[in-house]
């Protein structure tokens, strides 16, 4: 799993019930705007994410409607497990490299 993907998942997992729109996810993940749509599309494809257009009248809101994303319960669980596995792997790698340095 690439680092931007992990960052997106972490941003969404901060509050899995909360809906976030594209630019908001970019800000929360610390990524440049315009870089997350392939990641979101992939997660949406495998059913980890669900999305919908905001239910507002653009005229009344004074801005065009946003597309909101939210983790599905199944997606939140899988994302949590995947991130745990990835961080465990990293920890193992770091520990090994330290041991090799010490030896």
């Amino acid at each position: 799993m690439t680092i931007p993907t992990q960052l997106v998942l972490r941003a969404l997992l901060e509050d899995p019930t909360r809906e976030m729109y594209g630019l908001e996810i970019c800000r929360a993940a610390g990524l440049a705007p315009g870089t997350i749509h392939p990641i979101l599309a992939r997660f949406e494809g495998i059913g980890w994410l669900e999305s919908r257009f905001e239910d507002v009248e653009p005229r009344e809101a004074g801005r065009p409607r946003r597309r909101y994303y939210r983790l599905t319960p199944h997606g939140a669980e899988n994302a949590r497990n995947t991130l745990l596995r990835t961080s465990a792997r990293w920890m193992t790698l770091v520990a090994r490299s330290r041991m090799a340095d010490g030896a």
Binding site: G34, T35, P38, A41, I46, R59, R63, P64, R67
Partner: protein
């Protein structure tokens, strides 16, 4: 009600090519309405009827009023015609540029408005024809009443149109480029949308458009907006791949291609054979024949690897040579 001089109305028409359409429609419609109402008031004027003329002075006044009413009707007609042209070209342009954006709903609503404008143009035209190009000077009470009725009908159409188009104009204003939105970024977004699979185009068009608008509304600089669009552009191939194989893993396409190669001996060894031959020749040139001989296990390993992959990925393929041998032995 503010009254407008025809020369000012012409200035509005002249400005049409440079100003934004949303503003033009609003201004032109208000001007047309003002002018039509002014013409209608003139048409109801007692002085417009030649039968009321008693003295030479009355005739002079009557003539002046007829010319005035004609001037205003002609100006309203010119504005309405310009409005029709602008609206028609805008609908065509928008439908062509962003075929699947929600602009289509606005466009269809505008087409309805266009029909109403056409009715308005027709009404004004018939009123204008009553003036005979400004040359007709004799009006009876009947003519004056008819003219007044025609302009009254035109006013009603214009009022209805103003009310119905108010919403459309606001929506066009919402969809149109804002003052601080980068044109280059918009153009890039359009190019990106064209590369997205057609069934996802409408959704991403709206989503990218919204993001660009939000960046513009947050007063980000134009280079930053262009950077946003460039980043989207750099990711568009990945997005396209993700959308084309939504329920598949990230390397699905790569694996599908590998399976296609493995499904045929010609494709597999046509691809691997030259590579291995080159490797053997290279080893021979650098280290001599002795070392080249030891590359043979590598070839065998490749063959075993290919067989293993075919079995693991359940690749269906026909061994032409062996099947031919089997059939000949039978």
């Amino acid at each position: 009600m503010m009254e407008m001089d025809p020369s000012a109305a012409n200035a509005v028409i002249g400005k049409a090519s440079t100003d934004s359409l949303a503003r033009i429609i609003a201004v032109a419609l208000m001007d047309a309405l003002n002018i039509i109402q002014f013409a209608r008031r003139h048409s109801g004027d007692d002085g417009l009827c030649s039968e009321n003329c008693v003295s030479q002075c009355d005739v002079g006044l009557y003539r002046w009023k007829v010319l005035d009413a004609h001037r205003y009707t002609a100006a309203a007609l010119a504005i309405t015609r310009q409005l029709t042209e602008n609206l028609a070209s805008e609908i065509a342009d928008r439908s062509k540029r962003i075929p699947s954006l929600s602009v289509l709903s606005v466009a269809s609503s505008l087409v309805g408005s266009l029909e109403t404008i056409n009715r308005l143009t027709y009404g004004l035209n018939s009123a204008d024809s009553m003036f005979g190009g400004g040359n007709r000077r004799i009006y009876g009470t009947k003519d004056a009443l008819e003219l007044h009725e025609r302009l009254e009908a035109a006013t009603q159409i214009a009022c209805t149109l103003a009310a119905s188009m108010d919403a459309d104009v606001a929506e066009i204003g919402g969809l149109r480029r804002q003052g601080n939105t980068s044109y280059t970024a918009e153009w890039l977004i359009l190019k990106i949308i064209q590369q997205v699979p057609p069934r996802h185009r409408a959704r991403y068009a709206e989503e990218f458009w919204t993001e660009l608008r939000e960046l513009a509304m947050a007063n980000t600089s134009r280079p930053f907006q262009i950077l946003y669009a460039v980043q989207q552009l750099s990711q568009v191939r990945q997005l396209r791949a993700a959308l084309q194989a939504l329920d598949q893993s990230r390397f699905y396409r790569l694996r599908r291609m590998a399976c296609w190669i493995l499904a045929s001996d010609w494709r597999t060894w046509g691809f691997l054979g030259p590579l291995m031959a080159f490797a053997i020749v290279n080893v021979h040139l650098r280290q001599g024949w002795g070392s080249a001989f030891f590359t043979i296990p590598g070839v065998v390993a490749f063959y075993a690897g290919v067989e293993w992959l075919r079995k693991r990925w359940v690749v269906e393929f026909k061994r032409r040579g062996r099947s031919r041998e089997r059939s000949s032995s039978e």
